[in-house]
């Protein structure tokens, strides 16, 4: 029994999805350029300095932030450290297995990480305790609990929401607790190509019929911060430019609704 595939869609389901896209409708009836319903619950893990449970449609993830003392990297002695890890729990899908992160989990974590890191969302220079010796290390860990497509945006949204509420536990080293220094709010928007049409926030069935995937992470100052083309398949430069401009719009919407 092959364990590493996400199942195969019936031909009927497949052609239904394609037919709907042609008539500007999505698999679940929503309009072409909209996300599924979203809920964001921060502070779910009360004992962690920051956390957020996020649902996008039937996809559910929980991001937790831990902030601990540690050593800086030798080449950035005046900066705190950020690390991002995603666990595709066997709970979330019948064929997910326990074990070290596979290439899907690693790509996912790295794309989420790049959006946060490259937007300079966290002012890492504000996390130095003693230069070159002690800094704050920010651990973002994300549990994927329920999988129905578009993990990148769910994990990204959960991480950013968790970070925005996170407290640095200065009191553990005889200083004051303080809000994690945040400079901006990056939002990622992921599209897949279904038969020539790029649609955002695919559910799993849409991912199964789609070709190329592209993620665009933007910040509120109108800048592109990170991109990742994924999956087999190609995209025209025009499609990509369309995705970029749509990302600014959807990013703004998500930022205002869920990341205040």
């Amino acid at each position: 029994m092959p364990r590493d595939e996400l199942g195969v869609l019936s031909e009927i389901k497949r052609s239904t999805i394609l037919r709907q896209i042609k008539s500007q409708k999505r698999n679940d009836g929503r309009d072409l350029n909209t996300f599924r319903p979203i809920t964001v619950q921060t502070g779910f893990v009360t004992k962690a300095p920051g956390s957020a449970m996020v649902q996008i449609g039937k996809t559910r993830v929980l991001a937790g932030v831990k902030i601990e003392e540690g050593e800086p990297f030798p080449d950035t002695p005046n900066q705190g450290v950020l690390t991002t890890n995603v666990e595709l729990l066997p709970m979330a899908f019948p064929t997910f297995e326990s074990g070290p992160p596979n290439e899907n989990a690693i790509e996912l974590a790295r794309v989420v990480d790049r959006g946060i890191r490259e937007s300079k969302m966290i002012d890492l220079k504000g996390l130095v305790i003693e230069p070159a010796k002690k800094v704050w290390i920010v651990f973002i860990d994300i549990d994927v609990l329920d999988f129905d497509g578009n993990l990148i945006d769910a994990c990204s949204l959960a991480s950013v929401a968790a970070l925005k509420t996170a407290i640095v536990p200065g009191s553990t080293i005889g200083q004051k607790d303080f809000q994690l220094p945040i400079t901006c709010t990056p939002v990622s928007v992921t599209f897949v190509d279904i038969d020539g049409t790029l649609v955002p926030d695919p559910d799993l069935e849409e991912e199964q019929v789609s070709g190329a995937r592209i993620t665009v992470t933007t910040s509120e100052d109108g800048k592109l911060r990170a991109m990742q083309k994924g999956s087999v398949g190609s995209l025209s430069m025009d499609q990509i430019k369309g995705a970029i401009s749509m990302s600014f719009n959807l990013g703004k919407e998500l930022r205002e609704k869920y990341l205040r």
Partner: protein, 248 residues
């Protein structure tokens, strides 16, 4: 909350006979069980027990894989107990450690004892227990929720598995240890039983107990499991159950 100090500094028992968190000796922390909390899983449950938040998903019965693990006479039950990296005070490195491997093993054995595994030769039943927030007693809370999730998945069971912990704190036998009692107490006794028969399917003990104290502790546990099993049953019929005041 982190208590700083040495064992002897810490008073876990108040002069009025109450405990550090104000409970009486035989009072449970608040417990809340909810079922069908996940979409993909064949069965699922979420338990909140004191500060514990634990999610359980069940997949199966399905063909056991890899093939050489199949038992031609019965289903194998594979529970995987895991703590999220952010669930504990100090960030936990992802992946199994020796503690979680032992707990996964005893939980698997306890659940197997309650499921009609002989109905599903060559099959496997996967139970994932994810501790999202840990606050003492996670193995018992996870196991108690797992039994609900298995029922929610429609897997035929002989009986519920239901558990509770007792322990010794400042010389007193108390029910359902909280974090500080767990860290600085003198004994810890997690027990899980089959609800109807009261037969023990999980028991671990460490610390220091006389035979009398053991009997006192297990009596408390047996009484508590009856109440907790009630919550399990309600959660299944109403999808949600809650006991805020744990005392009788």
């Amino acid at each position: 909350m982190i208590l700083v100090g040495t064992e002897s500094d810490i008073k876990l028992f108040n002069e009025d006979g109450t405990r550090i968190d104000g409970r009486t000796v035989e009072e449970l922390r608040p417990i809340k069980i909810e079922t069908d909390v996940l979409n993909r899983a064949d069965g699922s449950a979420m338990i909140e027990w004191g500060g514990n938040k634990i999610m359980v998903a069940v997949y199966g019965p399905r063909e056991a894989y890899p093939k050489h693990t199949q038992d031609i006479n019965r289903a194998i039950v594979k529970a995987r107990y895991n703590m999220a990296a952010f669930s504990v005070d100090e960030r936990k490195r992802p992946g199994p450690d020796r503690r979680s491997m032992e707990i996964s093993k005893v939980i698997s054995e306890a659940l197997t004892s309650s499921i009609m595994v002989e109905k599903f030769p060559r099959a496997q039943i996967d139970v994932t227990i994810e501790v999202l927030q840990a606050d003492a007693g996670t193995r018992i809370a996870g196991l108690t929720a797992a039994s609900v999730a298995i029922a929610a998945a429609g897997i035929p069971m002989r009986d519920f598995v239901v558990g509770c912990t007792a322990g010794k704190v400042d010389g007193h036998i108390v029910l359902d240890l909280c974090k500080e009692e767990d860290n600085f107490g003198q004994a810890d006794l997690p027990v899980a039983v089959l609800a109807k028969s009261g037969k023990v399917v999980l028991m671990q003990m460490d610390g220091d107990l006389s035979e009398d104290e053991f009997n006192q502790a297990t009596d408390m546990i047996m009484r508590a499991t009856k109440r907790i099993n009630q919550l399990q049953r309600e959660a299944l019929t109403t999808k949600y159950s809650e006991a805020i005041a744990g005392g009788e």
